[in-house]
Symmetry: C2
Subunit: 318 residues, 2 copies
Amino acid sequence: MPDKQQTIHRASSDMGNGPKRPIMLAIAGDSASGKTTLTKGLVNALGPERITSMCVDDYHRYDRTERKELPFTPLHPDCNHLDIMEQHLQLLSRGEPILKPVYNHSTGELERPVKVEPREFIVIEGLFPLWSRLSRACFDATVYLDPPESVRRTWKVARDTSKRGYTEEQVLADLEKREPESEAFIRPQRRCADIVVRFSPIEERGESTGDPLSATVLLRPTIPHPDLLSLVGEQTSEAMHLKLLRDEDGKPVDALHIHSYASEEATRKLEEAIWNQLDVSEPLSEELGMIDGKRDGPLAITQLILLYHLVQAERRAS
Amino acid sequence: MPDKQQTIHRASSDMGNGPKRPIMLAIAGDSASGKTTLTKGLVNALGPERITSMCVDDYHRYDRTERKELPFTPLHPDCNHLDIMEQHLQLLSRGEPILKPVYNHSTGELERPVKVEPREFIVIEGLFPLWSRLSRACFDATVYLDPPESVRRTWKVARDTSKRGYTEEQVLADLEKREPESEAFIRPQRRCADIVVRFSPIEERGESTGDPLSATVLLRPTIPHPDLLSLVGEQTSEAMHLKLLRDEDGKPVDALHIHSYASEEATRKLEEAIWNQLDVSEPLSEELGMIDGKRDGPLAITQLILLYHLVQAERRAS
């Protein structure tokens, strides 16, 4: 189905024609850019009975052994069944189940597929969810995670040495090998997202990757964001503020800055105010911003903005 | 997509709207009823570049170990992802590729899925292709294989002991265990087929399962069959003849009988005559009826009738 028809199909479902469709959010970004952490808070906030999360990095065409003979890394489109990923996104967006392939990151093997049943909300995270016009047409809101490379390198080394059995040297060599394909195929998805999220230390304050990170959330005027101007203002001296910018491509965006030193009181107050704009009866979840058992303010607000879009899109669709 | 929409979609493609769709043939039947043998001749006749064959018995929900704990055999719908099978049939029928699950009959394990790209023709064989209105709506012609149980038992023991590592006792115990589910879920598909094929010995002639088998091909007036009446006549004393019958359900069918003792000259002549009714420039394939390196007349004519339907459906669709 061409992307336009997919968009029309979604809009048509919203007008009460056909079965109720799930609300879909894409979280795209390179390996170890924080996708799973961001997703986890959303799943915990809505509860696993209402939201499914799914990683689309399992659509590998080759297993690890086969890839050794091949001239590309998993970041190359030809290394993945992206047409099948697109097909599955379309099916899910129409409320149909799929049989999703499974790549085992520990063994590097492709395994038996699993059935994924759509729920009320679906978060799709991975390297390629914003790859094509058709895949993008399946989503209600799209996010690209854009940490500085220094932060991503730290995260990737930490994860791949602790959870995937690699040495630090192997991870760094892998990053270098992947760099040209990351530039060619992953990072271009940044310009297709409604929201671009960057967690980073503030260099001007002498911070480094090990310090608590601040968040910059670019909000493109492609979907209706919460009204933040009335809540945080444009005073750049404030720990939280909004700034009108030209993005890399010269196009206008709003940048919400949440500095790591913003007080818990202030971030909680902003969360409450954004949530109130939705005018829903449910209370604001306590699950947002949790990382290693502690609350992180910038992460909580970022997750809340995504939660806002899920709930808002569902209201439009129902 | 409801079955009616699937039918409309197929008809619409035939009128030049949208991409060209593949011609799809279903060959349904119980385990070891001859599906693969029948399919092989079609694939060899058209050539693997024009025709894909696919077995839909790989949509098992559980592997062999998991099934040991469960109260049903693979013949139970709940033991299979039949909704995903239906979805994949629809996708193929619209010319889209699928990522098909794989069940390894030797190990009893579910393995990495394989991509199946539709070709000009697709033969779908298995236990459940005629299971639902929606699955049936995906096909241009449907076949049910209906050998007598004595023949099927012989075939199943021969195959499962030589190719799947079971003992004869295991195979017979398995058949007994499967019988209630075969009756409940597999055999009811017989009444949904356009063509019912029965290879069997002729008891009145004192033949047994080890002898060359005769074919009875029931042709239901649900699709346009070749004109056989002008070719074989209704003389039941002839080795090949047509007989008007009431089927098990009381509905009228034409039964083409091809006795095993029909001469090669006669079966070849009938093949030529049926093929000529298609008025195509390609010569009649020499691949029909081959089994263990020898030609079998009743099998050749049965395969030719299916080939006739594939070619005829393609002409209607183009």
